[in-house]
Amino acid sequence: MIELSAVEKTFEQPGGERVPALRGVDLSIPAGQFLTVIGSNGSGKSTILNVIAGTYLLDAGTIGIADSDVTRWPEHKRAALLGRVFQDPFKGTCPSMTVAENLRMAELRGKRRGLRLGLDRASLERYRAGLASLGMRLEGRLQASMGTLSGGQRQAVTLLMATICRPMLLLLDEHTAALDPRAAEQIMLVTDHLVRTHALTTLMVTHSMEQAVRFGDRTIMMHRGMIVADLTGDERRGVTEADLLVRFAELRYTTEMRVTKDLRIAP
């Protein structure tokens, strides 16, 4: 269960201009839900993910994960509750280390890192099985240096790392955006498989309307720092990519009006 209430975040541009990124967002994600987030550039969809992860601290509002109020927690402390996959395939793993070392680091997320050699036979066997479950023939690359893997392979390993110890929330930040279409499709299937098998609460930010409706069981649309549409259940079923685009245009028009009126910000 994830609770965001009245969340506000404004960024200051280098010129001193203040750009509101989130304006009083309320969002509740029940346990086990797979939520997809869409929106245009600057809509606040990545910001919402980053404030949950703790990359930015809030100006106002609160964030709760499970039973903890994490609003003031630093990023590394929240990480214990979260699994994250970044848009940049280079960001989620350490290129100079082996696949096994990367997985070991992920397995200790939120736990004590002691002075012992963590990679024993049992853990290697565990990782091999995990890699095999991805269905990408990575199980033989356990001792390969991460830097020798392709972008798609890295994202797959990052996904495994994010889910290796069950997170309270899986955060996916346009994690297929930097991949070619074939690899992107493969990673989405792996994602869906992992989320379903472990029944993970998931928040996926995406730029693809197609992904947004095809995967997950709830979709929110963001615009100018607000949630402008929230689709679940019957309403969401049967919605096509084209419907979404039309709806997006409509909503955008109406909110533009509302924002202009309420906040007196020039369109």
């Binding site: 214990a80 979260l82 989620g92 280390m97 997320r109």
Partner: protein, 665 residues
């Protein structure tokens, strides 16, 4: 695959602790700033008593002695510091431009007389201060610096005591004591402004005596051992060491190496312990003479009416104890001529036991001994290379602290050893002292957001003063003190008969094997892996729940602990710790890391990389030894060093590297 239970939320006191730490750090800095301000404001009122500004250019052992002599003279005549006379003591710490500032500060503080130690300090004083007396000391030739044209015709506000450093008489003494030696030599520092002058004097004397005199350049204390070996290879029968700023601090190293090779040493001032013969004057006596002149000024005499005086006639000092350790006999007629004869005491008997005697006659330096000493130095530098490797490669943090933490390690170890601590424990303590310094650099960067380079520069600069405080002076001699090698002799008495380089080599090798194994193991543990990741990918390690700032602090602590460990070993090997021995540390460390990485085959893993970085340290010392050996113009030594490193870096990029299996990281 996944563990069913949710991750436990970490405790909330973490942020609080961070806040407390930040506040404490800021409070500490504020405290320091406050006390400095208080300290400065307290100077100001000096009642009616005379205020003497005492200034020296740097913390050299000779200048410190001169200053002590000066104070002794004042005290002996009833001038008691802070009771009947106020002393403002200043030291430019080697930074000559600071001297001008000091002089202006003196004027501002209302100083009534100025006492200068060294030529540069006197020169700066004469330039700035013309309306009140200047009394100089530790000046070899006041006429060269335009203080006057003769002892009586000089600047009206200047007088002082010149110190005789008769290098020609020293050579004559050497020749009389060891008539069989037809070639004598010295080490000289090409950067020393007076080196050329002394070389000229001693070479002219050599011509008259019909003997040959050679000089080998040294640009740093760590080159002294190699320099002495080079002298030996040029066939010298002994060393007449000319006065030199750099050699002054490293004199124990010179003595140690010369003793190993059976080369008698004749010193040119009396403040150079360990030489069988010294021909010259003592800086302490010179300071005393300077003090006596100052008293005349204080009692109302005009400096214009006080002639320059030579502090003492050159003295011949015979140290029979030292002679015994060298295994040489001083002719009785020379002993009869000596002003002072230091008898062989029980102490020096201990020395004889501790340092194996070598019979000089049949001995010559063989090639392998020269290379061995380069290798031993290289091995001791391995920990330094590892430290630099952690900071620059693992953490990717441009850390400059090593230039301060290396001498810190030396200072802590030397101080503890002189105080009677077990040398091995002292070396370990040096490691921890280094860790503290690295931790502070980390704190400055992570908590106070000081940039990486600046944080290192600040700590390195502060460490210069810290090191002086630790040692209580600029230089501590470890000559004939127990070292880690003494421990080896204690465990295995048979090893006492080995040449000292072999003993040091064995001990260093064992220490480095242990340390290197621990280090490689540490980096592969769960904690060490996270530390590597903190440098490799900050975003990733944060997403894995690790506070990167804490990792940066600990990694820098570890890095500088290793650097200080090297410093502690080098101090024991070269026989002294010196405040200035940090210069160039970082370059040596970086060169070792780059060499190690270049020599390493592509597919090698962590453990092998660590081993190759250590090999890189040895290769680097080897390259410097080659440069010394091929008779490269000594002035070009540092240029050659830079060229080696550049070549190593450039080779793979020129397409030649691949052919040799070299890879650039």
């Amino acid at each position: 695959m996944s563990t069913p239970e949710p991750a436990t939320p970490p405790d909330t006191s973490n942020t609080l602790r961070g806040d407390i730490r930040r506040v404490a750090t800021i409070a500490m800095l504020a405290g320091v700033a406050g006390s400095l301000a208080l300290f400065t404001s307290c100077r100001g009122s000096h009642a009616d008593r005379p205020v003497i500004g005492v200034v020296q250019v740097s913390s050299l052992i000779a200048l410190d002695e001169a200053r002590e002599g000066f104070y002794k003279a004042l005290a002996d005549s009833g001038y008691i510091r802070d009771v009947t006379v106020t002393i403002l003591e200043r030291n430019a710490q080697g930074d000559i431009p600071t001297l001008s500032l000091i002089m202006r500060e003196f004027l501002q503080q209302g100083v009534t007389q100025v006492a200068t130690m060294s030529s540069v300090a006197t020169q700066t004083a004469m330039k700035v201060i013309t309306d009140r007396p200047i009394v100089f000391g530790a000046v070899a030739n006041p006429y060269v610096i335009n203080a006057g044209t003769s002892p009586t015709a000089h600047r009206p506000n200047v007088t002082g005591a010149e110190i005789p450093l008769p290098v020609d008489s020293a050579l004559a003494v050497a020749n009389a004591a060891f008539p069989k030696a037809v070639v004598w030599g010295t080490l000289f520092d090409p950067a020393d402004p007076f080196a050329e002058h002394y070389l000229g004097v001693v070479k002219r004397k050599a011509e008259r005596l019909g003997i040959r005199f050679v000089a080998v350049a040294c640009t740093g204390p760590q080159d002294i051992a190699a320099g002495v070996q080079t002298l030996r290879s040029q066939g010298v029968g002994g060393i007449v060491q000319i006065p030199s700023i750099m050699i002054g601090g490293g004199f124990p190293a010179l003595i140690k190496q010369a003793r190993e090779l059976g080369l008698p040493v004749v010193a040119t001032n009396s403040g150079s312990p360990g030489a069988p013969l010294a021909m010259g004057a003592s800086f302490r006596d010179n300071g005393y003479a300077q003090g006596l002149l100052m008293i005349r000024v204080l009692r109302g005499e005009s400096p214009a009416a006080i002639p320059f005086r030579t502090s003492a006639n050159p003295q011949l000092i015979v140290d029979l104890g030292a002679a015994a350790t060298f295994g040489v006999t001083i002719p009785p007629e020379l002993i009869a001529r000596a002003t002072q004869v230091i008898p062989a005491t029980r102490d020096s008997a201990g020395v004889i036991k501790g340092t194996p005697l070598r019979q000089t006659a049949a001995r010559s330096t063989s090639q392998w001994e020269f290379w061995l000493s380069a290798a031993v130095l290289g091995i001791a530098f391995a920990a330094l290379a590892w430290g630099v490797y952690i900071a620059s490669r693992v953490l990717r943090f441009p850390d400059i602290t090593p230039d301060g933490s290396f001498p810190l390690g030396a200072a802590v170890a030397a101080t503890l050893i002189v105080g009677g601590t077990n040398p091995l424990l002292a070396t370990v303590a040096a490691f921890f002292a280094g860790m503290v310094s690295g931790y502070v650099t980390g704190l400055l960067h992570t908590r106070l957001r000081v940039t990486e380079l600046l944080a290192g520069i600040l700590v390195m600069t502060a460490l210069y003063s810290v090191n002086l405080h630790v040692m209580g002076r600029s230089n501590i001699s470890l000559l004939d003190r127990s070292t880690v090698v003494t421990q080896l002799h204690a465990i295995a008495p048979a090893t006492a008969a080995w040449p000292s380089d072999i003993s040091f080599g064995v001990v260093f090798l064992v220490l480095m094997l242990v340390l290197g194994t621990l280090f490689a193991w540490f980096l592969r543990t769960d904690f060490g892996t996270a530390m590597r990741a903190a440098g490799d990918n900050p975003a990733m390690i944060t997403a894995q729940g690790v506070d990167r700032r804490g990792m940066v602090e600990l990694a820098l602590a570890l890095a500088n602990g290793l650097v200080a460990f090297s410093g502690a070993l080098i101090a024991q090997y070269q026989g002294f710790a010196d405040a200035s021995m940090g210069v160039g540390t970082l370059v040596a460390g970086m060169a070792a890391v780059i060499l190690g990485e270049t020599l390493k085959p592509r597919r090698w893993r962590l453990g092998a990389t660590i081993a190759m970085v250590a090999v890189g340290a040895v290769v680097f010392r080897g390259l410097i030894a080659v440069a010394l050996r091929i008779g490269l113009d000594p002035v070009d030594l540092k240029l050659a060093t830079a060229a080696f490193v550049l070549a190593t870096l450039a080779l793979p990029n020129l397409g030649l590297g691949r052919r040799f299996g070299m890879v650039r990281k």
